[in-house]
């Protein structure tokens, strides 16, 4: 506890750095996944290969990805860009499946009704399909958020500072309180992101609360 008191500045600085590293993968991952996941849902012939590629990407351990991306893309290993690109890849890997499942979860009757009533293809996508897939997309995004916030810490091994710095620094200096602070602050950041995403979902999809029980099963795995 005394350690925290003496190092409030460092903790605050690292927490902000952690948040800054976490936001781009969540936002970009979410945005990139919608078209990819929609394609996978819409064209069954592609679904197998898209979900397969995405599954393979998710299988790659993060440390290995941090090492393999720089020579592939030509950025230095010790860069924030490296960590962000790796985490965007994970985010896409998690989200694409949710997006595809989300569109598949829409009642076909609602879609036929929307077409029958006279929605054009784009209107139908943005005003009917996307909102109806929303609850499943949100569930996927919450998983992405939690896993991103946790994985950012591993970046410290390639020299990118985040709350993970408290782990390695605390370990080398044998200060347990420092590591515990890092763990607790990571959990706090994850919790705050989750609460924000839930609030966003509630604001955008007030009707989705009715479907909540259906979602709970989804979150379990």
């Amino acid at each position: 506890m005394q350690w925290v008191g003496n190092n409030l500045g460092l903790v605050a600085e690292l927490t902000l750095a952690h948040i800054a590293l976490s936001i781009p993968p969540i936002v970009l991952g979410g945005l990139l996944s919608i078209p990819i996941g929609w394609l996978a849902f819409r064209f069954p012939t592609w679904r197998g290969s898209v979900l397969g590629v995405v599954g393979v990407l998710y299988t790659i351990p993060s440390l290995a990805l941090f090492v393999l991306l720089p020579p592939l893309f030509g950025f230095p290993i010790l860069s924030e860009l490296n960590v962000i690109v790796a985490l965007v890849i994970y985010a896409v890997a998690i989200m694409v499946r949710s997006v595809s499942d989300g569109f598949a979860s829409i009642d076909a009757g609602s879609l036929r009704a929307a077409t029958a009533v006279g929605y054009g293809p784009w209107q139908r996508f943005f005003q009917v399909e996307l909102p109806l897939a929303g609850p499943v997309l949100l569930a996927g995004l919450r998983v992405v958020s939690v896993s991103t916030v946790s994985l950012v810490t591993v970046g410290v091994l390639v020299g990118v500072k985040s709350l993970g710095y408290l782990f390695t620094d605390g370990f080398q200096r044998r200060i347990e309180a420092e590591i515990v602070t890092g763990i607790v602050m990571t959990l706090v950041v994850a919790l705050i992101f989750d609460v924000l995403l839930l609030a966003l979902g509630r604001a955008l999809m007030p009707w989705s609360l009715l479907a909540k029980s259906r979602l709970r099963a989804n979150e379990a795995v």
């Binding site: 299988t59 091994l157 993970g164 990571t186 795995v221």
Partner: protein
């Protein structure tokens, strides 16, 4: 690209297969940690998941813990446990941290595996005169097995990815040459090891994908579409049957 050539040269250098700390030795260490951790975690999580799925008790608790555990940074936990237990017991610390990581997917797999079984199937089995044990072994376990193996698959992949980090506390595994290589900028051994890790993960994933196919009862597969592993898919198959 020349970095990949260097990595290839490192991977094909016979010296790296005979000396102390060879790629083979690191791979075996990696697999050994992975198996010990997954077996221990399965011994805890699968019966617990069955209990929760079977009785419906502790369901909210399990969902909450599984969600929260995903947020827990395993690397931090590992370093904390090593400090707590002492450096000479760092292997135990690593196993504990990794077991905690592996429990949530295993728990969720076992729990949803049992939970998704049609209650009427179990009721009918009991009404035919099956004892509790017979219902468990002849109906619940076979029908839950695809999702249990699915949980096992996620657990194995997460553990394989995270065993990479134990080299930081001086334990072996395929992360060793990466973590040693970063400060020294030995890109050949870093990239070479990273490729081996990726290969190992893909092989294990393929193995479990095949295993899922084997354990999925034929009667369930014929109705459920191609990918019964996906919980969405299996749940949809179930609602269709209703």
């Amino acid at each position: 690209m020349e970095l990949f050539v260097d990595a290839w040269l490192w991977l094909t250098n016979p010296e790296n297969y005979t000396s102390e700390g060879s790629v083979i030795q690191r791979s075996l260490e990696h697999l050994a940690y992975t198996s010990i951790v997954v077996v221990l975690a399965a011994a805890i999580a699968i019966p617990l998941g069955f209990f929760i799925g079977h009785t419906g008790r502790g369901r909210r608790w399990a969902v909450g813990v599984a969600g929260a555990a995903r947020a827990l940074p395993t690397f931090g936990l590992l370093l904390y446990l090593v400090l707590l237990l002492g450096v000479e017991r760092r292997a135990i610390a690593a196993v504990i941290a990794l077991v905690l990581l592996a429990i949530p997917p295993l728990l969720a797999g076992a729990y949803t595996g049992v939970d998704q079984i049609d209650r009427r199937t179990l009721d009918a089995a009991r009404a035919q005169g099956m004892t509790g044990g017979q219902v468990l072994w002849r109906v619940e376990i076979p029908l839950a097995l695809p999702l249990i193996v699915g949980g096992l698959r996620s657990a194995v992949l997460q553990v394989v990815a995270t065993v990479t980090l134990i080299a930081y506390v001086g334990l072996g595994g395929l992360g060793y040459d990466i973590i040693q290589g970063i400060p020294l900028r030995h890109f050949d051994q870093m990239i070479g090891s990273a490729l081996v890790i990726v290969l190992l993960a893909l092989l294990l994933d393929a193995l479990f994908a095949a295993m899922t196919r084997v354990v999925t009862p034929k009667g369930v597969r014929s109705a459920g579409g191609e990918d019964i592993r996906a919980r969405e898919g299996s749940r949809r198959a179930l609602t269709r049957a209703r």
